[in-house]
Amino acid sequence: MKNYRKSHFSKCIKSLSIYLAIAASMAFFMFPIFWEVISSFKMPKDAIAYPPLFVFNPSLQNWRYLIFERNALHFLKNSLIVAGASTGLTLVLGSMVGYALARLKFRGRKTLTVDILTFRMLPPIALVLPFFLIMKQLDLLDTYIALVIAYTTFNLPFGIILLKGFFTSIPPEIEDAAMVDGCSRFMTFRKIILPLASPGLVATAIFCVILSWNEFIFASILTGKSTQTLPVLAAMVHMRYWANWGAIASVALIIALPVLLFTLSVQKHLIRGLTLGAIKG
């Protein structure tokens, strides 16, 4: 009897401490987000108050400042255009190469796969410098094209690898059936494979959008007044008006919120897409 009580007690302590540890970790990860969201609704003078205010009068002043005085919607538009174009390009080109790597047999197929994976890992700074010079010489600075091409640099390899995985998981019998019935490779690809791999296309699109949306270093160097994207706005608001922390919090939210909402809402599709790619047949 005594032993039972003792081990039950120590088990309770163990459970409690596990719960505490997890709760503390979750608090650590979630607090900055929470703080960020509420701070964006603080008036500038409340944002820099010390001790920091947890209770305050909410105001939309930061948002008004960002949208009307700093023209945040212009940056938002640029981010959308660049992310969309780069994603589209990646999907079109990447699906073709991915399909070839998955299905068509040709020499050097394995090494190509490996090389493409390596591209994904390149340090941005190694590409930014030559890109800057090249775009300068081509007079393409401050254009959407420059940034879209730059983002394709890392979106395309990633997309190729991801899509290759999805194409590999589609049973080849379907393609063979189609081709026996008279379809060319390309027609099979377009009419049969692509619709079947749509979860994979969606997953790739999601990753590409997120990568392009969050990208900073290429954006800050290759863009000018008319094409700057949201991350650049964030850095700018910080540098010039660095005392205006409320506005900074709002910028942060404008950038992060679309991606977060987008990610969380398509999470189901994402996971389904990823696991579909992993399961064969």
Binding site: A21, M26, Y50, P52, Y99, A100, N214, I217, W245
Partner: protein, 309 residues
């Protein structure tokens, strides 16, 4: 190919179908590879060529001369480069180590008997993705706000427990640990999620058998869990190392490489040299060295990936 065409190609021999096959392959991979070549390989080659010359974009009157490997030699004699190597090393080592230990611990806790089957795990798994998804620039800004020495929440919390406020990113000594902290915040969830999946896939039978044989939890961990997770652990570590070596956004927004040169990681140093001071050929050489380091790590990753998986 309709049946009639197939018959005729059989008659014509393999040559026709092979040529058609080659054309198909070209059609599919041609456009994609061409673009990839243009946007990846070409700039890299351009950059390599640049690093063998001398070119300053702020002072173009210095001229554009071929200097061979002089840039690379100068780099290794440059104390600031060596310093930035050291800083990058400290940052990478510290960040990856903490992310791994913290992440492994959290993953183990979440996989423990008490927690494993609860509904809350699903919520936790979704929610813990959030730090990874936030734009690095934004992460830097948020933490810059929180860790501000005058009115940041962090110092407020410290004062509540009776400690003095810290200088976080404003002091040369604490700036690098601060950057490590921010990276830990953003990327530990990655380690947690991957290791969680790995632990979930471990065979339970081994654990049951070892428990019958009298193994303690610690022994189970050291002799069962760790060895079985080794391939996943190595891959996670390599991914994080490669990402940490490349870091730029967070450091730029938090400290811009400062105070002084306290957080002058390689990417920031290359950026400063090339864009701010205009010495773009030197910066190109610098970025190529970084490239080699990362290519080496990638090579390792691929080798190990082929082994274990």
């Amino acid at each position: 190919m309709n049946p009639r065409m197939r018959d005729s190609s059989l008659i014509l021999g393999k040559a026709v179908s092979m040529r058609k096959n080659k054309l198909t392959v070209l059609l599919f991979i041609g456009p994609g590879l061409a673009v990839l070549f243009a946007v990846s390989i070409f700039p890299l080659v351009y950059s390599l060529n640049l690093s063998l010359h001398r070119w300053n974009i702020i002072r173009p009157y210095y001229g554009y001369a071929f200097v061979g490997f002089k840039n690379f030699v100068n780099l290794f004699l440059d104390y600031r480069f060596i310093e930035s190597l050291k800083i990058t090393l400290y940052f990478t080592g510290g960040a990856v180590a903490i992310e791994f230990i913290f992440g492994l611990g959290l993953a183990l806790l979440l996989s423990s008997e008490e927690i494993r089957k609860k509904e809350i795990i699903r919520i936790i798994r979704s929610v813990i993705l959030i730090p990874m998804m936030v734009t690095p620039v934004v992460v830097g800004l948020i933490w810059r706000y929180i860790l501000n020495e005058h009115m940041g929440v962090a110092n407020y919390f410290l004062s509540l427990v009776g400690m003095e406020g810290l200088k976080w990113y404003s002091s040369p000594t604490s700036a690098l640990p601060t950057v490590v902290l921010v990276d830990v915040w953003q990327w530990t969830p990655f380690v947690v999620i991957v290791l969680l999946a790995g632990i979930a896939s471990l065979p339970t039978t081994l654990y049951e058998v070892s428990e019958i044989d009298g193994a303690s939890a610690w022994q189970q961990f050291v002799y069962l869990t760790l060895p079985l997770l080794k391939p996943i652990i190595i891959i996670v570590l390599l991914f994080r190392i490669i990402d940490c070596v490349r870091i730029f956004d967070k450091v730029y927004v938090l400290t811009k490489g400062g105070p002084g040169t306290a957080t002058n990681v390689i990417s920031i140093y290359a950026y400063r040299t090339g864009i701010k001071y205009g010495n773009i050929s030197y910066a190109a050489a610098l970025s190529w060295i970084l490239l080699f380091v990362i290519l080496g790590l990638c090579f390792l990753l691929i080798k190990i990936g082929r082994w274990e998986i």
